[in-house]
């Protein structure tokens, strides 16, 4: 597996290293920044974010992630499981954020001791061991210095309890490794959040090119003891997966069937074989917040939630007029919050003028786009907006370059509470703790929101 883990600053200078195997030659780490520069120069991309996360040089494999102003790098000489290393790096970042609140160069400089201790516990001989922050916190209890403290706002850090027992937590080796015993809450509650993110690509003609729903059920469990939970979802939702699987079986060659893929992924606490056989979701939850399940529905049949009509007029390269109409295409009783429409415009414009029937429009020069914002907007309504942009009188490029901003799509951000696009509904959440036998209260909340890619192409 990984031979060593390093933290480097943006210039590629090593801040902290932990060598697990000692089979990496000395010069290899110094080579990393050179590699980054080389790759950038060979035209693979213009900026550093476009480099692939796996680099190879002279027998050494560099696997890295970028987080804020840090490179977190793993090196190995062997043909190892790169997924495991990548996930480990991601988990490492999560754990460190959990300890230091925010992970950046300064946090590392302030916390060398605890960093080494964590690195020792999380990986042994290059093999990932414990990467769950909740378990780590049970026995790595050194005081960490968060940035706020450094700034003088001293407050009791949640990690600061010193007098913890120096025993290996029993959770390390027993079958339920994600929950420790003896958790007590005065009021036993479980909160379910069903969050669906929608990604859509719509072309200039208004046709949906691709659409998907990325859903997740987030659970916040404030439950005592070792509760066994059983989650009931509506049949329609569960069956749609099964039905698809069957129909996929019948006509495996028919590609149309695969348009509506359904896929469910569960947290490690869910008994997968039970779900496989009986379609019942049962689990012993970890304490606190976690994603119980994530699912994905790929379906061309999702209605476009917003119908957008875009027109652009170029008045002889001196002035642009952008006309935008948006219609909310969902039930009138639903309300959409914080709708933001990002409309790309040329890099260099002056004195923008706006007219609109609702919301507010702003010009964001750093992103080269306009932003049309609504605090809340009801279903079934239509609004329009017009923007007039003055172009610089002298410009270097030709018309093609001027209008290259039209290659960038419109982007939408929004949230619709009390609504799931997929039709998923939580029927029940049964909480059963055989020893303590308490009354527990489940809560459910739904929200549909935009994913990272809800875009409308305009050319």
């Amino acid at each position: 597996m990984a031979s060593s883990i390093h933290f480097l600053d943006l210039k590629g200078k090593a801040l902290l290293s932990r060598d697990y195997k000692g089979d990496i030659p000395n010069g290899a780490l110094e080579k990393f920044p050179v590699l980054l520069v080389d790759h950038t120069n060979t035209g693979l991309g213009s900026d550093e974010t476009s480099l692939p996360p796996v680099l190879y040089d002279n027998g050494i494999n560099y696997i890295y992630v970028v987080h804020k102003d840090l490179y977190i790098l793993a090196m190995t000489r062997e043909n190892t499981n790169v997924f495991a290393i990548m996930i480990f790096l991601n988990n490492l970042v999560k754990v460190l954020i959990n300890y230091f609140k925010s992970l950046q160069e300064e946090a590392i400089r302030d916390n060398f001791v605890i960093m080494y201790e964590l690195l020792d516990e999380m990986m042994d001989f290059g093999l990932p061991q414990i990467t769950d922050p909740k378990i780590l916190k049970e026995y790595i209890t050194q005081k960490s210095y968060t940035l706020e403290e450094a700034l003088g706002q001293i407050r009791a850090s949640s990690t600061g309890q010193q007098a913890a027992p120096k025993l290996p937590p029993s959770t390390l080796t027993k079958s339920i490794s994600w929950r420790s015993e003896g958790i007590v809450y005065k009021k036993n509650e479980a909160f379910l959040d069903v969050i669906e993110s929608i990604n859509m690509t719509i072309n200039a003609k208004g046709q949906t090119l691709s659409s998907e729903i990325l859903g997740r059920i987030n659970v916040k469990s404030n439950l005592s003891g070792m509760p066994d939970l059983r989650l009931g979802l509506n049949e329609k939702f569960l069956n749609s997966g099964a039905r698809l699987a069957e129909s996929g079986a019948g006509v495996a060659s028919d590609r149309a069937v695969t348009n509506e893929l359904e896929d469910v992924k569960f947290h490690q606490c869910v008994r997968l074989s039970k779900f496989e056989n009986e379609k019942i979701i049962t689990f012993v939850p970890p304490d606190g917040e976690f994603d119980l399940m994530t699912y994905r529905i790929l379906s061309p049949s999702i209605n476009q939630l917003f119908v957008v009509d875009y027109k652009m007029q170029n008045h002889s390269n001196t002035r642009l007029e952008i006309l935008l109409k948006v219609r909310t295409n969902f039930k009138p009783k639903l309300v959409c919050n914080n709708l933001e429409i990002y409309i790309p415009c040329p890099d260099d414009i002056s004195s923008p003028k706006f007219g609109r029937t609702k919301g507010s429009v702003k010009y964001l020069p750093d992103k080269s786009c306009l932003c049309w914002k609504f605090k809340s907007i009801n279903g079934g309504k239509e609004y329009s907006m017009i923007a007039e942009l003055q172009l610089p009188s002298v410009h270097s490029g030709d018309e093609y370059q001027l209008e290259s901003f039209r290659k960038r799509p419109l982007k939408l951000n929004f949230q619709i509470p009390y609504y799931t696009t997929s039709g998923l509904q939580v029927r029940y959440l049964r909480i059963n703790e055989s020893k303590l036998n308490y009354q527990a209260y489940p809560w459910v909340r739904y929200v549909t929101q935009s994913g990272d890619d809800y875009v409308i192409r305009v050319s």
């Binding site: 079958s175 079986a249 896929d263 008994r271």
Partner: protein, 681 residues
Amino acid sequence: MVELLPEVVTILLTNRNDLEVKKMCISCLKTYAEVRPHEAAKAIEVFESDLANGSPYVKALALRTISSIPTKEYIERTAAELPVFLGDANPYIRKTAALGVAKLFEKDPRLGQEYGLLEKLNNLLHDKDATVVSSALAALNDIIERSPQLKLSIEYRDAVTLIGLLGTSDEWGQVYILNSLLSFVPSQESEAVEFIEKVMPYLQHSNSSVACNALKVIVYLANYVKHPEDVLPVLPQRISSALTSMLSKSSEIQFLILRNVILLLLTKSKLIQLDVKMFFCQYDDPIYIKDTKLEIIYLLAEKSNVGIVLNELEAYATEIDIQMVRKSIRAIGNLAIKIEETASECVKVLLDLLENDISYIVQETVVVSKNILRRYPNQFEELIESFSKHVDSVEEPEAKSAMIWVLGQRSRNIASSTKMLTAFSEGFLEDPVDVQLSLLTASVKIYSRSRSLDSSQQQGAEELMLKVLKLATEEVNDPDLRERAFFYWRIVQQSASLQEVVDVSLPVISTDSDKLPERILEELELSIGTLGSIYLRPISHVFRLAKPKSLAYSPALQKHIEGKPISSNMERQVSISENVRSTSSNGQSVQPESRPDRRPLIDVEVHHPHTNANGEKLKQVQSLEDEPEGSNIDGSLNAPRDVHTRFPSHSSQSSTKTSSRKSTLGRRASISLLSRKLRNL
């Protein structure tokens, strides 16, 4: 810092009960012990006392420390302590000890053998604690990867036990267990199907590493099922949905997944049904993702979806990012060559792109069009017409060569080809060698054809050729170019056979040539989720010390991948295995008795290639050395393997490669027969 080591050791010796100080000292010790082994050795006493009477956590810490310090004293201490702690009551300590064995074997395998640690580690695989088992598997895997003589082999019921443990181990444990399942060779199709079904749920794990290892196991087992997509109709859908759902993770993970999708498309395209739309690029994808997606789009393109694919590629070809534009144009060109029916549509798109008259689009379009024109010799006159409008804007060497080639090859259809080539010859001396070579060939080609033309054209062609030949022989320093020019010159003087030499019908090109050989794909397939699957290059090229992997033979093994010349190989396999069976039946019948009644859960096979294994190990080990022909097979097996690792990319090695393959097959066949026999007994 090294200077401070003695001080640190003193602190360690005096602060035995402060765990935090101890941990810091240990960090320092681990880093510098190698430089000052004598100073470091003084601290060993602390760990000894910790091991003797610390709390479990302290014991584990001490064990972990002494096993990771690479000096002689510590190594010896570790080897002596490990046997005790491998049998400790506390699972956390057993787990730490298991990894300690791996650390020891890395530093001093002989010492490990002496203390019989491998067998003890092997016994840990019976442990009832899933975490211990998975750590032991991880340690074994590490040891085995390092030593060419060891091989892990798992029997059917052991595999069942392991799968049972999957449910109770944590996510990393699941990774190690799934990975070890590759050492199980199903002897019947039904076994493979059964395991595929059992592993399938883990495709849904939220840790992509688990999901990907599950995928690896399934793909591996599918090799032992005749038509996996018919036996398990849900399988392609499940795999595809698992893959696509991982695409919503961070872009680094996405990248890894996409590379593996390419691999699967190359080897097991029947096991996945992916919609090409899934892989359409998002505007803000990083370049490396777009790049990989483009490759997938190209691989997924077929007659039925070529319409949307071309639309999408055309959209990319007018993007802002130049790299992306070039790559998508290249993809369009390759598509035209890959699928004949789409060629005319692709050409239409290319013509549209040429209309834009943007320099880099023109360059790239010219380059790919050359291949299209070569693939379809008498078609697409419209491309040539459009070309002649853009002759002046062709600047880059590759595009220039392509343009010159087209002008020469299709001179019959281009009225002014001679004139245009003459224009190119103006800058002959400044051009790079590639362009010079193409111009040389093109001018000779035109001359060879000009005899059937009218005199003015003949004269133009002759002038051009003489000019180029003169420049190439007198003014140029490049030996290749000069020699070729002389070569042409002499043929021109002989004159009779000129046309036959320079203007023959060209062999048809196809895109198949970029496919990787079957054997390399097989190895890559067994490396799903590892670095090799990201590079998509022959494993031995990148990882010189990696063990070669290939599918182990079993009666159920299917090689249903199309285009693989297996039929003859298969026969050979059968005959060799029968041979072995008939000749070795005597030797084998002895073996079961010499084995202990209770076999270890999982056998670690120890093969000693040339010497005879010592008797003690034979008891536990399935060794082939007993067989009459064993040593013979062994010798031929091991020699070529060495060749592989030492000269990974040498082409002259192909003959040894085939012979090694044959013998490996024979060897493997005998192993599986052996184990089957044992089970029957």
